[in-house]
Symmetry: C2
Subunit: 257 residues, 2 copies
């Protein structure tokens, strides 16, 4: 059964489509074995979250878009799982907020980088006129070990705002130390990535990206003052606490797996 063959009326349609996409990602060489394990961790946390976008996440998503629209140079970082799960949604978001996409993976191989870039092109990156970065690797994030430090000089290295879904904690901290504003999409509000974020979005990336794209369309005509007001009134700690409370209370509330 491929992702396209899951019946629309299946009670766990979203979850099953997601799982099939990630398995197809492995077959196409864009998702790693570690990516499959990470997918499972996300599934468990999303199950506890009720598999829906909670109000705190909606606020965070709107704020993330406002911050990105104010950026001088924004980059959406895409790894193997994000590419497998929502390639088109990543391209649409980058287009809507005027950001580049940088392919950036934890277990780095040339083949996988190129497979991911190709997958994004198949899902409209060229047509959307979104710059695809990550293959130059001509700059380094300070204080990170070799492979994980590699970035593009014209991409993440010089960006003032980076959108990092499903990011490793070490890298999130190192990007923060470079003074960048980070929009982190992560289902664990206690992860170092979420704790480090300027705007932590505790939501499944497959729900977060389309919603952020919608906000980008709504906020397209907002003035910089209006955008700044949205950003300034956001409280990251409160958003994390709301998500944490929801996960804790959610357990025991829902249907079983």
């Amino acid at each position: 059964m491929t992702a396209e063959e899951v019946p629309d009326d299946h009670p766990r349609h979203g979850s099953l489509v997601t799982r099939h996409r990630i398995e197809e990602g492995v077959e196409k060489g864009i998702t790693s074995k570690q990516g499959l394990v990470a997918q499972g961790r996300g599934e468990a946390l999303d199950y506890l979250l009720g598999e829906e976008t909670v109000p705190a996440a909606e606020r965070a998503e709107r704020t993330a878009v406002a911050r990105t629209l104010l950026a001088d140079h924004a980059v959406v970082s895409v790894n193997g799982n994000v590419a497998a799960l929502c390639p088109q949604e990543a391209v649409s978001l980058a287009e809507a907020v005027g950001a580049d996409i940088e392919v950036n993976i934890f277990h780095r191989t040339r083949e996988r980088l190129e497979a991911i870039a190709e997958h994004l092109r198949e899902h409209g990156a060229d047509e959307a006129d979104v710059a695809l970065r990550g293959l130059e690797a001509d700059a380094r994030i300070p204080d990170l070990s070799s492979e994980r430090a590699k970035v593009d000089r014209d991409g993440i290295y010089s960006a003032d705002v980076v959108v990092v879904p499903l990011e490793d904690g070490d890298r999130a901290e190192a990007l923060d130390a470079m003074g960048k504003d980070e929009i982190v999409v992560d289902l664990n509000p206690l992860s170092r990535s979420a704790q480090t974020a300027t705007v932590p979005v505790v939501d499944n990336v497959v729900r977060a990206f389309p919603r952020m794209t919608e906000y980008a369309e709504t906020l397209a005509s907002a003035s910089d003052d209006e955008l700044r007001e949205i950003v300034d009134s956001f409280d990251a700690d409160e958003a994390l606490h709301d998500a944490e409370r929801r996960i804790r209370e959610g357990f025991g509330d829902g249907d079983t797996r």
Copy 2:
């Protein structure tokens, strides 16, 4: 880095060894892609549980052993993840309680069944004189779709007690409907498998099996009356509620990932 190369003093030694074993399981053809995703779900739940055996699980493990020692014919069911994670521990447990092992997998192929059986032999199944079943598939569990219904007539089909770690909910319910007593090892106390179990063990199988083997040695000289008293005084619902409470309260308590 292989499982053997993780430094003993690494703060997340257990978790890293486990993850490497499951990845090696994929390379040996015994763990499926779906198994890797399931491993991730388990990791997230174990993280919430504090990655330790809680008191309710200890009671459940002791009870599980007592029930198994009272069995006419006990079988430990082993799937691809269990085989990858703790092959030797599965063999030791089966030997200690006088049970057979039956290889039983959700995504069934002949190659994977045989790879798992071979892996168990490499980890001492023959020396321990544990009967290895699951390759005959000459009987069927009623009311299950074709591939998942296959079992050995001299194995799970005729057993009165089955130990089913990481079992699918449909199969757990179908085995229950056959009147078998099920010992379920599962990190989600709300899963249908755990809810169906005669004795639900909410613990990581890599911790549960060695501890159950120890209990088997302690209880080896107990009389049937003593064993029956242990079984009769166990409250499955209470054990599940204790685990559920622990997971809910544990979130927000520990270190981040």
